[in-house]
């Protein structure tokens, strides 16, 4: 008698559930509100979540290796503030250097990368727990952002600087309003595409999955695990800097609170997109689905005039749902199911461990 084969189709569906949700949410809001399908709103969905998307991308990278970086939201704020200071006149709150915008963009990406490098080295070489390191950095970087800011927001950036975040590629005029093809929207799509190719089709990307699946086994296969993790943190830092650039560009301003309290929503979107904080699972395209779902829900509820509190509640529920989904997904895999079941049982071990610990 053959062993029961895991059902391929079910497996495929579970892995790509996110797209069903995206489709479902899209259809639901189209039916609930006629303004949702308006050209203006459609163009807006991606633009508004561009910076958010870059943060999700940063976490998708760290998740694949079984890590995470809570400090990216603060990196977003710090890099944006750092750039603002160097861009504008002293009357507008800056340092009055008015550096070349392209140079400033380069500097902020380098700053993001350095923050990532610092995180990565502490975690791998010094061996500090990633939760502790990145929580500490979350506070350090946010504090530094307030410290260097003039206390208010800084605005009036040069065009070259705001192009990526706030620029328009094309505008289609319809009877129903204008459809705006934003630079930021296209940029985010491209970034995820590059991320997808990088993680799925390059040796480095596959090494990331190997590290996340089992770091010891990866090491045994000759993979330099520390190096992979450090580079992933650098990439995450650069993504966060891009997020800062997009956000500052769209608002044409930098405030010390930019990005604050985003991180859990970011993790929620990544997880509902199929990533797992335990590493080695999920893919970048799925994470993009997570971004879409998150922003469809946001704009949809907004358009329907739902109070912000209820929007928060719905975000929380979505997050909870994402976590449940993650647990189910893991459960679906036979051996993983054994692990759970046995841990909590071969005689009630799990329970006691938790209650006594």
């Amino acid at each position: 008698m053959k062993r029961a084969e895991p059902n391929r189709l079910v497996s495929l569906m579970v892995d790509n559930l996110i797209w069903l949700f995206v489709l479902g949410a899209f259809i639901a809001f189209s039916l609930l509100s006629d303004r949702f399908l308006s050209p203006y709103n459609l163009g807006n969905i991606l633009l508004r979540s561009a910076a958010f998307g870059m943060l999700v991308l940063s976490q998708a990278y760290t998740f694949i290796t079984g890590n995470f970086d809570l400090s990216v939201e603060s990196s977003l704020g710090l890099t944006a503030m750092f750039a603002a200071l160097m861009l504008v006149t002293s009357e507008a709150g800056g340092l009055g250097w008015q550096l070349n915008p392209l140079l400033v963009i380069l500097l902020m990406l380098v700053l993001g990368g350095l923050i990532g490098l610092f995180n990565g080295v502490l975690i791998t070489k010094v061996g500090v727990n990633n939760l502790l390191v990145t929580i500490a950095m979350l506070f350090v970087l946010r504090g530094a952002t307030y410290g260097i800011s003039p206390g208010t927001s800084i605005s009036f950036f040069p065009k070259e600087f705001t192009w990526l975040g706030g620029g328009t590629l094309a505008r289609v005029v319809t009877d129903n309003g204008n459809f705006v093809l934003s630079v930021a929207g296209i940029f985010v799509i491209l970034a995820f595409l590059v991320g997808h190719i990088h993680t799925r089709y390059t040796q480095f990307g596959r090494n990331m999955y190997a590290v996340g699946a089992d770091a010891d086994a990866a090491r045994a296969a000759g993979i330099n695990v520390d190096r992979v993790v450090i580079i992933v943190y650098i990439i995450a830092g650069v993504c966060a800097a891009f997020a800062g650039l997009l956000q500052a560009g769209r608002l044409n301003a930098a405030t010390p609170t930019m990005g604050a309290n985003l991180i859990f929503a970011v993790h929620g979107a990544a997880i509902i997109g199929g990533m797992s904080i335990y590493g080695g699972r999920g893919n970048i395209i799925g994470a993009f689905g997570g971004v879409l779902l998150w922003s469809i829900l946001d704009t949809g509820l907004n358009i329907m005039g739902v109070s912000p509190f209820w929007i928060d509640v719905s975000r929380g529920l979505l997050l909870l749902f994402a976590v449940l989904l993650d647990a189910l997904r893991v459960r679906y895999q036979h051996s993983a199911q054994m692990r759970l079941a046995l841990a909590e049982t071969t005689v009630g071990l799990h329970d006691r461990e938790q209650s006594s610990g």
Binding site: M1, K2, R3, A4, P6, I197, R200, Y201, T202, Q203, G205, R206, N207, Y209, A210, G212, A213, D214, D216, A217, A218, R219, A220, A221, G222, I223, G279, G280, R281, Q333, H334, S335, A336, M338, R339, A341, L342, A343, E344, T345, T346, V347, G348, L349, R352, E353
Partner: protein
């Protein structure tokens, strides 16, 4: 066979380890050990649990640093040992607890770190799958390379790990208890390709507690005891009894089986079926009875055990414990109904590795150890732990040692102690003697006997037919999901040949 072996074997020394010592706090794991392997030979390495086999191999692979001693490969002394240096020198290690990339596919596991790329430098997935499929079929291994490794059985994972070592162009492959989780059919398959590789000039170090297998496949055998090398013998110059004598330093304690089976039915399974796993399974288990269930991989025996413990759906049919309907929704409810289970993959599932031996043994019985004011009675706890350390001969510096630091076999004994301490009504054991040495096996059999004498009904799922014959009152054979044969001590028909034949699906029926 003997001739081809003699041909393949050359007297050139491939590996030479001299004067290796290694101590851990409280343990001299290796003491002045000399060990050498010739080109193209299969060299057995045996010894009791905790003798130092894995530690010696760890030193060889550069995973553990020796306190003193030298390693030479083909006459060249190595000044450093690191896993990478050793792999480059053509030495591969298939450890006792296999590390694979569980969430990734078989194909990726095989080619990890070195995936085929197209001319743009991007991973060519078609080639990844084709290439790995081709490599596997050259070894006669049939696995779906697109399947994630977490979907594979223990046997399949073991074979995959060995295959990976073979792909690394190794000249010397260390197999640390490779057959512990394999059925006889898979063992034959494995031995087949080990021999094929040997004919290509590859040498193997073969660590096992299955002495028959050592005699079956090895050319020479080295015995370790308490961190020291007792000696090396050509397999043709030694017999099982002498080998055991060298390992234990004396005779093995015997165990005598007296049936303790009563009349009262404790556990009854009636017409139990689960699609794709087993069909129309019926049997009873009496108080104090020990039954064995054996079958090939995929015969449904494994699934039956898991179903009965609520690890998987049990299926349709009726099961009662002491007359009461038993339907475990989860392992936890099974445990509460008085069923305990020793899983096959117990290193992973059965232990809290970071905690002490004492805590692991008594976790599950803590409620019984709580005194009046809810305070734990440490002395009783200590007594239970020491009782089992003593009974099972667990090699540990003391009850407070973290289980992580015990040798593989001793970790298993700790799991066994934990289970025995819970005093269940029905005990389901999955390959209970896997990975434990000859002496410990006897100790475990004695514990099984003790428990059955106390009235525990015991069901053992095992492919070790000879052990089952010694232990059980009855043996049920499963084939293709059904119980096809029953052998019993009472009917005096528990003959190894007949049972093995039945396991392979041969002719015969229950009453013949």
């Amino acid at each position: 066979m003997a001739e081809t072996r003699a041909l393949a074997r050359s007297d050139m020394t491939l590996l030479d380890m001299r004067g290796i010592s290694k101590s851990y706090p409280g343990v001299q794991a290796l003491q002045d050990a000399d060990f050498s392997v010739r080109r193209g030979e299969i060299h057995g390495l045996v010894g009791k649990n905790g003798a130092g086999k894995s530690t010696l191999m760890g030193v060889l692979m550069g995973i553990r640093a020796a306190d003193s001693g030298t390693i030479a490969i083909e006459g060249e002394t190595l000044h450093h040992a690191s896993p990478q240096i050793m792999i480059d020198a053509g030495i591969s290690y298939v450890p006792q607890h296999i590390n694979l990339l569980n969430t990734l596919t078989v194909a990726e596991n095989i080619l990890v770190g070195n995936l085929p790329k197209n001319r743009f430098g991007l991973v060519d997935w078609q080639a990844v799958n084709d290439d790995s499929q081709a490599r596997l079929s050259r070894l006669g291994l049939k696995l779906d390379v697109r399947q994630p490794v977490e979907g594979l059985s223990v046997a399949e994972r073991t074979m995959l790990a060995i295959a990976k070592a073979l792909f690394n162009d190794a000249r010397l492959i260390i197999l640390d208890e490779p057959t512990a989780a394999l059925s006889r059919v898979d063992i034959d398959l494995l031995f087949g390709f080990v021999r094929a590789q040997q004919e290509q000039g590859v040498a193997f170090i073969y660590i096992s507690h299955h002495l028959e297998e050592v005699f079956e496949i090895c050319d020479r055998v080295t015995v370790m005891r308490d961190g020291q090398i007792v000696g090396t013998r050509a397999i043709s110059e030694i017999n099982v009894a002498d080998l055991i004598h060298m390992m234990v330093g004396g005779g093995v304690k015997e165990y005598g089986r007296e049936s303790a089976a009563g009349h009262e039915v404790v556990f009854e399974v009636q017409d139990l079926s689960r699609r794709g796993a087993y069909e129309h399974v019926s049997f009873v288990l009496r108080r104090g009875e020990v039954i064995g269930i054996s079958g090939l991989q995929g015969s449904g025996a494994d699934e039956l055990a898991q179903g009965l413990f609520g690890l998987e759906r049990m299926g349709v049919g009726e099961v009662t414990i002491a007359g009461e309907v038993y339907r475990p929704g989860s392992p936890k409810s099974a445990f509460e109904a008085g069923v305990a289970y020793l899983p096959q993959d117990r290193h992973r599932y059965g232990l809290v590795q970071l905690r002490s031996v004492r805590e692991n043994v008594t976790y599950s019985v803590l409620d019984r150890l709580v005194g009046r004011l809810g305070v734990l009675m440490r002395q009783d706890e200590q007594a239970i732990t020491e009782e089992y350390i003593d009974k099972l001969g667990i090699v540990t510096p003391g009850p407070e040692q973290r289980t992580l630091l015990l040798s593989g076999g001793n970790q298993q004994k700790v799991v066994f102690a934990k289970l025995a301490a819970t005093q269940p009504a029905v005990l389901i054991l999955h390959e209970p003697s896997q990975g434990v040495d000859v002496q410990a096996k006897v100790d475990i059999f004695n514990i099984i006997n003790d428990l059955s004498r106390q009235g525990v009904a015991i069901m053992i799922i095992s492919s070790e037919v000879r052990e089952l014959i010694g232990l059980c009152d009855r043996i049920l054979v499963m084939y293709e999901g059904r119980i096809t044969n029953e052998f019993s001590r009472a009917a005096d028909d528990m003959l190894p040949e007949d049972i093995l034949l039945a396991i392979e699906g041969g002719p015969g029926d229950a009453d013949a």
